[in-house]
């Protein structure tokens, strides 16, 4: 907590090394959020870059009540929303064939991963299912399960009540389960 307060002070004073430290700690989460939301590595990296510039510019006015991680991911999420809105206006884009590769996302093997399952197929199904979620549910899933925010932090990042995050996560997981369970069933046969 003290470290975070010190880093906030450094950011407020315009210290670029503090921005580097922030990127070292949160760059992975920032990238994961942007790449999952946008499914385009280059565009997502542009968003992360823009977020860093904005963090540097707005740090002086940051009070720190919500926490640095929440504030940072809120900026990233808002930039992603802008891009998605613009993309919708531009007519969208064709469905990607390589959903993980194009987005620049990587996989950390899950410990109890079932050997019988086709992991690649499972992950592809999962990512496509995440893409099909309504935007507000997708944001909740990405912030809580992929970026590792608590429900309270995600609520602060999204500017909604914690109960709403909980409800969105519940509905999202129901949909993900419905898409994944047939694959799990297949793997167990």
């Amino acid at each position: 907590m003290e470290d975070e307060q010190r880093r906030i002070e450094q950011l407020r004073s315009g210290d670029l090394d503090a921005l580097g430290d922030l990127f070292r700690d949160l760059g992975g989460a920032m990238s994961a959020v942007a790449r999952t939301m946008l499914r385009d590595r280059d565009e997502a990296d542009d968003v992360v870059e823009e977020a860093l510039v904005r963090i540097h510019a707005a740090a002086r006015g940051f009070r720190g009540t919500r926490g640095l991680r929440t504030w940072t991911l809120r900026i990233v999420m808002n930039l992603c929303r802008d891009r998605l809105r613009r993309r919708k206006f531009d007519g969208g884009r064709a469905e990607d064939l390589d959903v993980l590769g194009r987005a620049g996302l990587s996989v950390t093997p899950v410990l109890e991963w079932d050997e019988e399952l086709d992991r690649a197929k499972l992950l592809e199904t999962l990512e496509r299912a995440i893409d099909r979620l309504p935007p507000e549910q997708r944001e909740a899933v990405v912030l809580c399960h992929r970026a590792g925010l608590s429900q309270a932090e995600a609520a602060a990042a999204l500017g909604i009540a914690e109960g709403s995050v909980k409800a969105r996560l519940h509905r999202a997981r129901q949909k993900l389960r419905a898409e994944l369970e047939p694959l799990m069933e297949e793997g167990q046969r």
Binding site: G20, G28, A32, D45, L126, I130, M184
Partner: protein
Amino acid sequence: MTPEWRMDDERIARLVASVGAEADPAVLARARARIAAGAAEERWEFALPAGVAWLFRPLTLTGAAAACAIALAAGFWFGGTPGTVAGGTSLIATSSETLPGALLDELDAAETASPNGGLSDSGGPS
């Protein structure tokens, strides 16, 4: 459905969390370069006297260009071409552009009006 392959919430969460991203250091480098460029621009603006800086504002430059365009358009509208007054009357009486030419033109005009220079041999009007 047996519990072995039931996807509980925790399992779904772990599966979602198993996908992540590595931060690209080039992104930080680009952001730092943009911040540094922005700071340099601010310093340059700060170094200029306020009046001079004001003259370089895009709005001022656009306004000045628009004022020039309006002045030129008004000039052509009211005056036709340079060297004329309203109604198209030329301010230049002679057709020559240069001073010697104009003097010669004036001399020719005087000779045409009166071959004797406007005086009769008797000294009276011709």
